[in-house]
Subunit: 424 residues, 2 copies
């Protein structure tokens, strides 16, 4: 650590770009940077987005600097007249903009690589506040500025995610590590089949505790708990988290399906791979959502045989062998049809397991007897074939919510069955 | 407009949730709200995110209120102890928190619908700052608060996107319309099959103009142009937009597929419905994404017969009748297989058209001859069966981008064929 440089304990992220304020673009950079800073033990206390406006950028930079040790900006480093980040940084830190020969050479070099000629505009990207240290950008023309002023370290990064990420990893990450004490550790535990408040009641003592902190978050039929602590070393932080995690799992184990980045589909994928089992799907109201979520994961061809989106009764009959009489008697959204769909998918494909969903996702198509939100999930393997009934009528006005929750419920049913098979 | 209520011209969005500061969640609510506010003519000048911390929430609310006519918050309305939004709003506006009988009844009603019992915790969601108007939430237990104080209108919305969106559309949107002067009108024109810079070249004169403004935005194989103007009346605004729209369509008509909320799948759905035609899908690398996107739309059972996610060679053979020798000779990612898949899906289902996708979405599975990003899209109807080759190797590092672009390309190919049939 250099003399006079203080530890970096807190950071704020300032996103610059009118396109973000207009809602044209979802800002994914800030979440990425925040996750990285969290694992480096840097507390992020605020995100701010402002447009391409000199005063508003300067205000945001000043305010952030008054609160945080590190201010990272993304965006506004391009060659056009509305790219103002570095100019505003110069204004806020009372410095002149000067041309950096190294940055000018970098612009030339990048254009040479693309086989094009830079215009006068492009050399705007060689201007930085005096006293700046440059942040190399191997992927694009926009280098970043690193500037310490009045107790705050400013870092300007471009808005292009791949460039921003590379620059953070290669320059900022080692610098922050070098200037931080202690380690922060977070562990996320995922649960399904239990509501947020029922879950919260079972672990209220942990939710009230201050170290480690435990925070719940719920959505679409899943709930997660995040356990966080900070300590001098990573080992010490992990030692503090372990007993909390253990006790939470002792109380909530039956609902637990994985840690951190685990999803219901990745939990299912893990179990299928471990058991060398294959899966076939028969989807009606989810219309391919289960198949899509399974194949979002690379390598899914190992355990996913085929998916049948049998949207019409005809295709339920012809493809899956659901008897015409059964459809006529019970209707497509019924327990026997869900069972038959799961079994049909399994037999047709030769997979070890079949999973089916049939329901009324709405907004239309509901009746008094079978309202929007009525869903059946079916499962079939060599030993059992069964179906469960779901009442999602509370979400009757959101087709998306019904489809997502149906998919989550189906994957969770499959997960339970796979764990049962594991234990038998 | 009520007496004493001022026009809403500017807004800020405050996102509340430690999970966002930790980078656990990408905040998509803010972009959605911003886009809606933009079309309502409300300028959004700042987005702020703070964690579940009393002081930081209060600071963010005060600062936002000092700058904007409308402050919308998302998040922090849950039943747990770290859900603090309404409490902080009460503190900032110097009001007491009081229980609203209507909100208490709503909690009871939602729990009754879920078939569960509320716990003491849950009634926290019935407490609001005194003088609040409640924002109904038909999808969840968390109602929102609407509170005017010192010249700023505060609206608190939950973080769950479907609930937040519904509440904005049903309560806030009409209220904002009612309290704005003049009309801002935006029309979005959507194009596919042309790159952003090629498109920009053809309409550069409009992009340079100041009224109406025309702004391009590109992503995942689609480009859109947004035409915007503001006038005293809606009629006047529309009169200014019409000739610009007409001229742009005269130059770019062949790439144009729809306006505003149109997507490639909704354009396809419209054409299928108009022609009383039905569709079947055979998907390999997109793994159900096309089916999922088609069935995201209510009413898709009218034209969508069935979808086959034939992830394995075996299911391409058995289900779709792709000859074993063809797979052996050309490989699953090839033009003849794409053709055969489209034809197989059409014939198996009895649909009028079959659409197929086969490709290498990566990150693994590429070879020198067939790199990641090589995709074939096939189409078959009673008259023609053909396939097109796509080179998406530039996106070889993003499985998602390859899948999304393949789906867009496939829908665009189908759209062109349907328009051809329309004209013949």
């Amino acid at each position: 650590m250099h003399d006079g440089q203080k530890n970096i304990k807190s950071a704020e992220i300032v996103t610059i770009g009118t396109e973000i304020l207009l809602g044209d673009l979802v800002d994914t950079n800030t979440a990425w940077l925040s996750a990285r800073l969290a694992t480096l033990g840097v507390g992020v206390y605020r995100h701010t987005t402002v447009g391409d406006n000199r005063h508003r950028i300067a205000d945001a930079l000043k305010e952030a600097a008054s609160r945080a040790d590190l201010v990272i900006t993304t965006g506004g480093l391009g060659p056009t007249s509305d790219d103002l980040t570095n100019e505003c940084l110069a204004a806020v830190t009372s410095r002149e903009m000067v041309e950096y020969a190294e940055a000018r050479a970098h612009v030339d070099e990048m254009f040479r690589r693309f086989g094009r000629e830079p215009t006068a505009n492009n050399y705007k990207q060689a201007l930085f506040p005096e006293g700046t240290e440059l942040i190399p950008n191997p992927l694009g023309t926009a280098m970043g500025a690193l500037l310490e002023a009045e107790g705050t370290l400013f870092a300007t990064l471009p808005g292009v995610p791949s460039e921003m990420r590379g620059m953070f990893e290669e320059t900022l990450q080692p610098l922050i590590r070098n200037r931080s004490d202690g380690s922060i550790i977070s562990r996320t535990l995922w649960f399904a089949g239990i509501g947020e408040s029922a879950l919260a009641e079972k672990v209220q003592d942990f939710l009230d505790a201050t170290d480690p902190t435990v925070a719940p978050l719920a959505g679409q039929g899943k709930v997660r708990l995040r356990i966080t602590t900070r300590a001098a070393t990573q080992e010490e932080a992990e030692e503090r988290i372990a007993p909390v995690e253990e006790e939470i799992l002792a109380r909530l184990g039956e609902y637990y399906f994985g840690d951190d980045d685990e999803t219901l589909e990745s939990a299912v994928a893990r179990l299928l791979q471990a058991q060398h089992s294959t899966l076939a799907l028969a989807e009606s109201c989810t219309g391919g959502l289960l198949a899509k979520r399974l194949t979002d994961m690379p390598g899914s061809s190992e355990y996913f045989k085929e998916g049948l989106v049998t949207y019409s009764n005809e295709s339920k009959e012809c493809l899956l062998g659901v008897p015409h009489e059964m459809l006529a008697e019970h209707g497509a959204v019924s327990e026997p049809v869900a069972r038959k769909m799961a079994e049909g998918a399994r037999k047709l494909s030769g997979a070890d397991l079949g999973l089916s969903v049939t329901g009324i996702a709405g907004p239309d198509g509901g009746t008094e007897e079978k309202p929007v939100g009525l869903v059946f999930v079916g499962l079939s393997d060599a030993e059992v074939t069964f179906a469960e009934r779901l009442d999602l009528s509370a979400w009757a006005r959101s087709r998306d919510a019904i489809r997502e929750r149906s998919a989550n419920w189906a994957f969770d049913l499959l997960r339970h069955r796979l764990e049962e098979r594991n234990n038998s």
